[in-house]
Assembly symmetry: C2
Homo-oligomer: 202 residues x 2
């Protein structure tokens, strides 16, 4: 009945996106996580096709030319991107795909794949986000201010998303995202198609 969907998850750093994503993947073995491509060198323990698709600069540029990315960016001289083909292949197989990506990337995906469902993870408050970033204890005061400023700037993209989930309690946030994913399969986009299926089945 329900066609597979691409779910795009964004949110400021420190909000706990990664934890939410791994919890969701744990609970739904049919869901596929989109793997990024990059031209940077593999680090210890990273596996091609799992951590990243590792590509040469030439390969990456050729793929850009072919329109092979849902989105890509040049970050400090290395390319990062979301290859289109594996995502479309999973969707064609009827499997939902989850893509965790920053707002700039998400805005590109919105253009290259408008049928995606865009979910924004928010902190309960800016004060709480500051606390979470500070509690990591790895950053200087300047870095923390920089990160918070970036978070506020990213959050201003909220209006381009369809859903928001506040990560106050992790379990609740995971259930919120799962409810969005489930309910999107109940959304009526083509009533005629649904009715035809019910009339034909016997």
């Amino acid at each position: 009945m329900s066609d597979a969907k691409l779910f795009v998850l964004s949110g400021p750093s420190g909000v706990g996106k990664g934890t939410i994503v791994s919890e969701i993947l744990k609970e739904d073995p049919d869901l596929r996580l989109s793997v990024s491509a990059t031209t940077r060198s593999p680090r210890k323990g990273e596996t091609h096709g799992v951590s990243y698709y590792f590509m040469t600069d030439g390969e990456f540029r050729a793929e850009i030319e072919k329109g092979g990315f849902l989105e890509y960016a040049d970050v400090h001289g290395h390319f990062y991107g979301t290859p289109k083909a594996p995502v479309l292949a999973e969707l064609a197989r009827g499997r939902d795909v989850l893509l965790e990506i920053d707002v700039q990337g998400a805005m590109q995906v919105k253009k290259s794949y408008p049928d995606g469902i865009f979910i924004f993870i928010l902190p309960p408050s800016l004060a709480e986000l500051r606390k979470r970033i500070e509690n990591r204890g790895t950053e200087s005061r300047e870095d923390i201010e920089l990160r918070l400023g970036k978070a506020v700037a990213e959050m201003s993209y909220l209006r381009h998303y369809e859903y928001f989930v506040v990560n106050e309690d992790l379990n609740q946030a995971v259930e919120d995202v799962r409810a969005v994913m489930r309910s999107e399969h109940s959304r009526i986009r083509d009533a005629e198609k649904i009715l035809k299926k019910i009339e034909e089945e016997s």
Copy 2:
């Protein structure tokens, strides 16, 4: 964070709406079921304000004049309707309201309360719906055909709804409706309002 919502549930007779509704109410004690008003006489065991709000013909007509109904209809000489005030009061208290109603009523509610969320319960197939109606064993062949014809006519309203749920497995259907209800509280309708709340909280 999330404002209360009115969920409107429709579907052809025999599809199992009533069972779905009672399961949902069982699992969510905060959810309120909308109670209808009627001018017909109370039957044995029916309680005013629980089964129905029982009204005189004059009272009902006066309420119609005041725009006091989300929808109403004259059925075989008796009025039936959904009083607006109790629904709005529950919503104002932050409680979601569930309204089970036929497609004609739902189309009226769509006009009187456009912020409602409209969910259509479907049978897995027309053949299965026929089986369910036949298995009740209380109806003549003509009645069954009449009921099926009505079901097909009602299902043609599907395109006016936002969500569909196929009642093949009851538990799955209940979870589908619950996911829709939960996810609607994650829908971004006013991004500025959401961001303001996060900035103000501390």
